[in-house]
Amino acid sequence: MKRRGYKALSTTALIAIIVIIAIIIIGGVVYYITTQQQAPSKIKIGLFISNLGNPYFVALRDGAQAAVNELKNKGVDIEMEDFDAKDDPNLQTTQIETAVGQGFSALVVNPVHVEAIQPALQKAKDAGIPVITTDRDVADHTLRIVFIGTDNVAGAEQAAKMLIKALKESGKPTPWKVVILNGIPGTTAAEDRKKGFHNILDQYVANGTVTIVAEEVANFRRDEGLTKMESILAAQTVDAVIAANDEMALGAIQAIEGAGLTPGKDVIVVGYDAIPDAVQAIKDGKMYATIAQSPFLQGYWGVYAAYYHIAKNWSPSEDWIPTPTVVVTKANVDTFEQEVKSPKPLPGAPSG
Amino acid sequence: MASNEPLLKAEGIVKKFPGVVALKGVDFDLYQGEIHALVGQNGAGKSTFVKILNGIYIADQGKILINGKEVKIRRPIDAKRNGITLVHQEVTLIPYLSIVENIFLAKIPFTKGPITALNKKEMESFARKYLELLNLRINPWIKVKELSVGEQQLVQIARALAENANIICLDEPTSALTPAEVDNLFRILRDLKKSGKTIIFITHHIDEVFRIADRVTVLRDGEKIATLEVSKTDPYEIVKLMLGREPSRFYITREKVFREEEKPILVVKNLSTVPEKIRGISLTNISFDLYKGEILGVIGLLGAGKTELGKALIGLEKVVSGEIFIDGKKVSIKSPIDALKYGLYYLPENRRVEGLVLTLTVRENIILSALKHTTKLMGLRDINAEKKTALEWIKKLNIVTPSTETKAMSLSGGNQQKVVIAKALVAKPRVLIFDEPTMGIDVGAKVEIRKIISDLAKQGLSIILMSSDVDEVLALADRILILYKGSQVALMPNKDLTRDIIMDLMSGGSTNEIVFSSREGEHMEIST
């Protein structure tokens, strides 16, 4: 029994020694590396994007990168790292939490969800890291310096006006049968666009020139736009479709074609976002109009706002810096991109 | 021998497993056309040796020569290409395939190309050829899982034949067979020998060596002790070589008791069951009683319903009619848990499949049935109490194990069986139901297990001993219940009974039918 006890002790002791040695080695190495890599003056910006699978957000990232490059050329010591949350709020929280411990000077965040992002941004706030939200805001405005994003209500109003214009041009008999496809309920973009659509269309509903035959949620998705529109077309004829984004509008176009109708002629389609497929559809005459936002400017301004805040202690006077929207139709389909992709100075920016 | 040059020669085979040296430089030779028996206690290295010949294990040292040329056997397919095949002790058929498909699988490693079109008719005629050789007359499209163990064993042999092997190794082929099936097998082996095949035959039964083998090699503790001409030796010498000492008797004798004045512990009246599986066995009108300290032998061929009776008593067969009384009170037993409540404990036939949890330690297996005794409040386990219990039983039953913490899978068959017995006894049962307790374990362990059973009865436990070993039952039982195809053929005191009488009754009493028998009538009435 005594020998067994001794043996067990020696094994335990050996494990303990190994663990201690391991800890000492790790500690030493890490201390060395961390002391080597201290570079305090550098500005490091984290860009957190909801989904880089979407070209819209790729443009946002490009804009941010353009701003970083511009600043670098001006001799500013700045770098940026981007993170893709694949539309998973939990992953985005994990990414932001991890980044907070990583010495970022500022975070430019495009939240997956307005509320779900809050605990993560609270951590950034606690750590004293400034946050700028782009495209989608956070519910608690105290968690960020400023929001940079589209005035979606105004954009949607423009879209709805284009729809009415097209219907008038078509000479279709009134009341015009209109379908509205809405985005993910609860998201600011979806709610604002819905509001903008109704701001215009409700006047025409009131005077009897428009009937809204269906208002469906297609969650900003092309496949849902397709299936929802197919079901609608199975039940009735439709004169026009207005969708809260191009993906749903393109889905609707597929459904219209599937029903043997001609989009643009039998059914007028208006989208939102001006993604490349939609631009092509406008060229082909299948889509009447779409609204181009300025994701490029959102990213571009986001980085500048972060830079001014850190380097020049700038705070914007506004809570929200709206980015411009542009109506895209066959008339300007070849030129609008330059318009939205050209850098413009950040409104209210400090001089120099 | 047929020729002077051995067909197969093994030189200095060494095989080490973690912690043990299974073979310590074994030399072996095999001549064309002989039946060569390989005997030895469990752990002697018999199975390891044939597994090396068949490429299942790879020898650490030594070489194998076939017709004088050295061959490398590193995988089973290497062995098959050299004309060697193995019929495993455990069933290695695929249960959800038919007999035909299982036999046809033997041919597949020898077909060219990755995919071959299968023709049902061809497959069947291919399989039938070998089934007929074995006198196996059953529908060849039946799934193997529906067959009895004995039939499965024969199908395995058919598959080996289908491989067209020259050297057929049989690892304890008779351990699960009925006497008639053994006779049939031996007839087949003799035929095979006549057709020029060479056979290595592992067995525990010394009498079988003398019935079938030309030569016999004795292994002990991984060493070859001797190779003898069967005609120039006798069973006594072989057993002595196997054990390395003077053999004690195989069957212990026991004073038979016949107590009538007492009340029986267990009474079974007109018990009938229906099987859960297709082709299972149903019991019809089984009636018997069991007294304190009594051993009731239940005997029958494979498929007589012994296992079914054991399972019916612990609620695992579907009972359609009949009653069970314990201490005169009618009880309803629906599960092993109920059975344990009434003190009934069943020790299954197949230790590895049903008896033990091989991944657990010896200690944990021993206490498994009596967790209540070794746990404190809230089911918290008392490891010291467990160890104490385990050590106590290891000592009482003479279980050979390095420690209480050894995994059950690393014990020998006999010791595993003792762990199963210990597990049962820890639960403090009143009636122990043993199902083939000595099947497939070595001679030394058999004697020990029989001794344990006898001692348990002496201590007042009632025992139902189900066995297909007639001599075992004759030596141990006070009364004998004979089953045939699920029916009760006889229930009689073990008095003036002989092997022949029992064998006759077991086989359905081809000439005589026992119409009545019980312990009250101390005689048997036989009508023709």
Partner: protein, 327 residues
């Protein structure tokens, strides 16, 4: 000469030590964990910061709860595909009780736990009474559970769960949910190694037939453990509510596979009966650590999947070495 003798002596000592250590099922996952930990520390200077280590544990907590529950089921030789859906359903019910019905936090937490346990109980009934293989029964729960979440939420996140912060608030330097998972790891160790129920779980996984013959009520054990596992998942669901302060309907999507992977990384054999009780918590930590270091290094999430898969394959290979073959 003396020198070579010395190095041989060292090799022997290491071999000897290894043979002693490898008896413990925890050793292999622990070595993997230490190895990855050291590698991560070398790869990123931010890895070893106390902040990063804190959030690493924080992120591990929900997955560890799933893995602890899942591993008990795998140890019985069954499998549970429902952890992801169960956690989402439990979180959703808790959120609805709290927000829509205005109940206090304690009531909503109890409701969530009861929901998880109920899903587990139904799984257990399907397996033991309806005799549906656990893979199929829990696949049904995976699909139906998610469907119920989507019905209850209408596909929309339930917002305003700020009171769930009790889980993320810290005591003694670590968030409460980290303490919860540490405590449950301890509970699992105690339950599986030191109680009769634990031995029953191992014996059912090792040989269910033998366990039944030994008088163990295997059905009751299964029912208990499926229910207990459901309860564990519900805690993970509550933790997720606290993490986002939102009950997100797609919470736990695909987490059943992470839970199984954590168990495997922790040395639990999928055939049942073998594995350390605390291994799954280590496995969950390893999986989270991989995500963490890849984020620190700025690797795309799509690449992260590939890396996770590769680590799993390598780990599983190391753990199953010495087996003749597996299914």
């Amino acid at each position: 000469m003396g020198k070579t003798g010395g190095s041989e002596g060292l090799v022997d000592t290491i071999k000897n030590l290894w043979s002693k250590l490898s008896v413990y099922e925890e050793v292999k996952p622990l070595i993997a964990l230490i190895g990855l930990f050291i590698a991560s520390a070398l790869l990123s200077p931010y890895f070893l910061t106390s902040y990063n280590q804190r959030i690493l544990l924080l992120q591990t907590a929900p997955l560890a709860m799933l893995a602890l529950g899942e591993s008990m089921i795998i140890l019985m030789g069954s499998i549970d595909l429902s952890p992801g859906s169960t956690m989402a359903l439990a979180g959703t019910v808790a959120a609805i009780v709290h927000i829509s019905y205005g109940q206090p936090l304690s009531v909503s937490i109890l409701a969530g736990m009861a929901t998880g346990a109920a899903v587990g109980f139904i799984n257990g009934l399907l397996v033991t009474k309806a005799k549906i293989p656990s893979f199929v029964a829990t696949l049904a729960a995976l699909v139906a559970g998610r469907g119920m979440v989507l019905i209850l939420t209408g596909g929309q996140p339930i917002v305003g769960l700020t009171e769930f912060r009790v889980f993320t608030e810290a005591i003694i330097g670590l968030p409460n949910m980290v303490w919860i998972f540490i405590v449950f790891t301890g509970i699992n160790l105690l339950l599986l190694r030191r109680t009769s129920l634990g031995l029953k779980i191992y014996s059912i996984g090792g040989n269910e037939e033998a366990a039944r013959y030994s008088g163990i009520n295997a059905d009751l054990v299964k029912l208990t453990i499926f229910t207990l596992a459901g309860f564990y998942y519900s805690i993970a669901g509550l933790m997720m509510n606290a993490r986002l302060e939102v009950a997100y309907p797609w919470t736990g999507w695909g987490y059943e596979l992470d839970a199984i992977a954590s168990s495997v990384l922790g040395g639990i054999q999928l055939t049942g009966g073998i594995g350390s009780p605390i291994g799954p918590a280590m496995g969950a930590y390893i999986l989270t650590l991989i995500t963490n270091i890849l984020i620190l290094m700025g690797v795309s999430p799509y690449v992260q999947w590939v890396v996770k898969g590769a680590v799993l394959a390598v780990a599983a290979t190391a753990l199953t070495r010495g087996l003749k073959y597996v299914k």
